[in-house]
Structure formats: structure tokens, C-alpha cells
């Protein structure tokens, strides 16, 4: 059993990571270029992965890093290369 307080959040580190996640999320929906949006989304996934790893969920972090930041980005880039790079709105 995990004792209470044995593994606390590292508050400043956590806040920095959450700040980066927030910045990435806002940037990903604001930017007009879809390729940049996909790249920022990949960075977002990596920051999420760092947060998972810091909370001790290493399996989830690994999944996030490989699936979301790796293959997800690749698939979206492939889709962009088949369609258009500029967003319409």
C-alpha cells in the first residue's frame, strides 16, 4: 500500500509542466498552419507524457509517448500531406 505523503507532487515542477501543456494547447488551436498545429500537438503529448511519468504512471507515459506523440503525429502529417496545409477558417 502506498502511504499517504510518501510520494508528494513536486509542486514547482508540476506547475511548470502544466503551464507548458496549457501554452501548447492554446497554441495548437490558435495557429493557422495545420502542420505547425500538428507539431505543437506532438509537443503537447510529450509534456503530458512528462506529467504522467512524474505522477508515477510510467505505463501511461510510455503509451502517451509512443502512440500519441509518435504515431499520432505521423498519421496526422500523412493526412495533411494528402489534403491541405492551410486551415479554412
Amino acid at each position: 500500500m502506498v502511504e499517504r505523503g510518501e510520494k508528494e507532487l513536486i509542486i514547482p515542477f508540476d506547475i511548470i509542466l502544466l503551464l507548458f501543456v496549457l501554452i501548447c494547447a492554446i497554441a495548437a488551436i490558435t495557429v493557422r498552419d495545420l502542420l505547425s498545429a500538428v507539431m505543437i500537438l506532438g509537443a503537447y503529448s510529450f509534456f503530458m507524457c512528462l506529467i504522467w511519468a512524474q505522477m508515477g504512471a510510467v505505463d501511461v507515459a510510455f503509451t502517451e509517448a509512443s502512440v500519441s506523440a509518435g504515431v499520432g503525429t505521423i498519421l496526422m502529417v500523412a493526412a495533411i500531406s494528402k489534403t491541405t496545409r492551410r486551415s479554412k477558417d
Partner: protein, 91 residues
């Protein structure tokens, strides 16, 4: 119209943030979710499945129906992609 959208988003966010207040603390052993079956998993898994990584034991043994469903979802997604996107080669 934009202001209405912003208001809706802000209000929804505030309601969601209010909803998280009632969530148990992070890593709280006395929260309802970690009192039901988790102690059993934690105490039994290594002994009964010979798998030191409890996450894998839960994912692939205790909850293997879930993982089977997950695999089936991925498989059907791939099949849908093949059916929709793949075209026959012209001979």
C-alpha cells in the same frame, strides 16, 4: 456572438473545475476507487500471476476482456481504413 461563446466556455470550465473539488486527493488510499478491488490486485497479483508489473497483470489478465475489446477496436479501425482508402491497382 464571440462573447457568448467565450462566456459559455468559461462557465463550463468553471463548473468542471468545481466538479474536481470533490474528487479524492491524488494517490489517496482511502478513496472509493482504491478500496474496492485495488487492494486485492496489489496483494495478489505478483503471487498469482508471476508478473512483477501489476499494471500489465491488471491490463492483460484481470481485465483482459477490456484489452480484447481495445484490440478489436484498433483492428476494425484498420479494416475501415483499408475499405475506405485502398484502391485496386489497375492492371
Amino acid at each position: 456572438m464571440k462573447i457568448v461563446n467565450l462566456l459559455v466556455v468559461i462557465i463550463t470550465g468553471m463548473v468542471l473545475a468545481y466538479g474536481t473539488m470533490d474528487m479524492p486527493d491524488w494517490g489517496d488510499p482511502n478513496s472509493p476507487a482504491s478500496r474496492h478491488v485495488s487492494p486485492g490486485y496489489i496483494s495478489d497479483a505478483v503471487e498469482k500471476t508471476a508478473t512483477p508489473n501489476i499494471v500489465t497483470a491488471v491490463l492483460a489478465d484481470y481485465r483482459s476482456y477490456d484489452t480484447l475489446g481495445e484490440t478489436a477496436v484498433i483492428f476494425s479501425a484498420g479494416m475501415a481504413c483499408i475499405l475506405l482508402l485502398r484502391r485496386k491497382r489497375k492492371k
